[in-house]
């Protein structure tokens, strides 16, 4: 039996459904009216095919709606949170007067929201990725393939919510207060956020380090200051206390409550993707706070997520206020920042070294290609006899080299 045996059997069974119809001669078929033909023909296969198409459509509608409902649930809660945090602008403007709280892309699998216009915070961007529920077959295939061949499936295609809070270094004491006059102050304050300190859920430690360049530069340590489900990942141990200092006593119980869905809460200025050149290194440096969570569905979890966003914004607020009003009181000292700067210069040197090596290899390849081209051209210019002579010379040289090598080995 061939390997395609079962497939052939199925095809035969399908053909057998209409064996009677196909057995009719042309004249017999011609004699039948359209209605008689329709009645005589066995439509079982066609009905099954149509049923399957209908099922695919139903899955598409249900999957897309399910994703939309989940996104509605998350973003409605977050929009309320941003309003409470007094952001001037939440969501996206549309041509109509109605504000759009989030944007859906790629068939309701990617969702984005945005808030801006607040003291200490330049903006908050929320990105959520949901499974392609409209295509359950691909989900099952990916899961099955990932089970036996993990390298064939993209590892970072799980569902998540990413909340990025960018600091702006501008502290405004009240809604009626004036903006600071010197823009240089903001840049100086932002430079104080150039460190990596994070709290990572123990279930996601390796994955978080693998997917985020900034976390792969940190030292992992457990602490009694944290709930049992978390560890600190910071570039130096002193920075672990930044959460304790600015987060206060409420942070620990909040983290405990969020253990079901929180992957990590990180303060960083380095990019998520490892930069491959010094230009990219410079371009993607942005002091920010990143909150990565699983997709939350229950009301208790969304409320908890809101509290977490508020806590992160409160840390940014408190740190900015310290740097602006009383830099001596600030937790992150110049000594800590110096150590962070050292790490950054070492990393940049590593990147430049790899980049230069790649450039050298590329140049070498080009040079070799040019030489080959030159040799080919000069050989083409020679007459047939001269070409033979040149080839003979080359062959002799190769043989001589080989003999010398053999002698060396002896």
């Amino acid at each position: 039996m061939s390997i395609l045996g079962p497939l052939v059997k199925v095809a035969d069974a399908i053909n057998a459904l209409n064996a009677k119809y196909t057995a009719l001669t042309f004249q017999e078929q011609k004699a039948l009216t359209v209605m008689e033909r329709v009645r005589f023909y066995n439509w079982t296969f066609e009905f099954w095919a149509l049923g399957l198409l209908a099922l695919i459509y139903v899955f598409h509608v249900i999957g897309t709606k399910l994703n939309k409902n989940r996104a509605d649930n998350i973003f409605a809660a977050l929009t309320q949170c941003f309003d409470e945090l007094a952001f001037a602008k939440v969501g996206f403007s549309t041509r109509t007067s109605k504000n759009q709280p989030f944007v859906a892309e790629k068939n309701n699998t990617w969702f984005t929201s945005f808030a801006t216009g607040r003291s200490c915070v330049e903006s908050i961007t929320v990105r959520a990725r949901l499974l392609a529920r409209f295509n359950p077959l691909s989900i099952v295939m990916e899961k099955a393939l990932g089970m036996f061949f993990p390298s064939l499936v993209a590892s970072d295609m799980d569902e998540f919510v990413d909340i990025t809070i960018k600091a702006n270094g501008v502290y405004v004491a009240s809604t009626t207060a004036d903006l600071p006059k010197s823009p240089n102050d903001a840049a100086a304050v932002l430079s104080k956020f150039k460190f990596i300190a994070s709290i990572v859920n123990k279930s996601d430690m390796t994955k978080a380090r693998e997917n985020n360049y900034y976390l792969s530069l940190t030292h992992t340590s457990e602490s009694e200051k944290l709930p049992l489900e978390y560890v600190y990942m910071s570039e130096n141990k002193q920075l672990n206390s930044v959460f304790d200092h600015y987060g206060g006593a409420t942070l620990k119980p909040l983290l405990s409550e969020s253990a079901r869905f929180l992957s990590f809460l990180a303060f960083t200025d380095l990019p998520e993707t490892k930069p491959i050149s010094d230009k990219l290194w410079e371009r993607y440096q942005q002091p920010r706070c990143v909150i990565r969570t699983k997709v939350v569905t229950s009301a208790a979890d969304t409320a908890c997520l809101n509290k977490l966003v508020k806590a992160a914004v409160a840390i940014v607020d408190a740190a900015t206020q310290d740097y602006v009003q009383n830099p001596v009181k600030a937790f992150v000292t110049n000594d800590m920042l110096k150590r962070s700067a050292n790490l950054r210069s070492q990393e940049l040197a590593k990147i430049v070294k790899v980049m230069k090596q790649a450039e050298r290899e590329l140049l070498q390849e080009k040079k070799q290609e040019l030489e080959r081209e030159k040799r080919r051209e000069s050989r083409n210019k020679l007459s047939g006899e001269e070409q033979d002579k040149a080839e003979q010379k080359m062959r002799e040289r190769r043989e001589r080299r080989q003999r010398n090598k053999q002698k060396m080995r002896m």
């Binding site: 036996f148 693998e210 457990e222 049992l228 590593k350």
Partner: protein, 190 residues
């Protein structure tokens, strides 16, 4: 005794047994099927029992080690693994359960499609034997302490004692510290 050597010995014995059995006899085939399925089912139950114990214990102690480089995946340097005892144990157990499914698929193909019965008989002991010899089962079901050979990360077993085995994971402080600050994360492949 080294489990790999006992596996080999069992294989040889079962080969001799299978030569003495009439594999054309439907009654014998029926009993061989029952033996294989019970062995697989028992192994699966043992693993699930160990799994439930691990989840119940919920040991969140952090373990760090540098896993050896996977040459097949083109890796030149080892990868730092930061995990908890619970997750490490579950990963080990899940890979053992996965190997049961792979074995079932292979045996299903050989027996149901290719109509071979001998492999079924030869594989009717090894699933339960492997399950009972698994490090996680020893720790969580037999209550052996996680030290010596059972210290996490486990050493990959080798056929000839210390030679020929897969490279062991590094657990020394220096290697871990170097790997921690290596900055290998965030490499996105196109």
């Amino acid at each position: 005794m080294n489990p790999q050597i006992t596996n080999l010995a069992i294989m040889l014995i079962m080969m001799q047994v299978s030569r003495r059995l009439d594999m054309e006899d439907p009654t014998i085939v029926f009993y061989v099927r029952i033996a294989y399925c019970s062995s697989v089912a028992l192994a699966w139950i043992v693993y699930q029992l160990a799994r439930s114990r691990i989840v119940q214990k919920n040991d969140l102690t952090t373990i760090k080690f540098v896993a050896p480089a996977n040459a097949m995946a083109g890796e030149t340097e080892g990868k730092l693994q930061v995990t908890t005892v619970r997750d490490y144990d579950l990963k080990e157990l899940d890979s053992a359960i996965k190997s049961i499914y792979t074995g079932l698929a292979m045996m299903g193909f050989m027996h149901l499609y290719m109509k071979y019965t001998n492999p079924l008989l030869m594989q009717s002991i090894s699933p339960i034997k492997s399950a009972l010899e698994h490090n996680e089962v020893k720790i969580h079901l037999f209550g052996k302490p996680a030290s010596g050979d059972l210290k996490r990360p486990f050493k990959a077993p080798s056929l000839f004692g210390g030679f020929g085995g897969a490279p062991a994971a590094k657990t020394d402080k220096k290697s871990i510290e170097e790997a921690e600050k290596a900055g290998h994360g965030g490499v996105k492949t196109e």
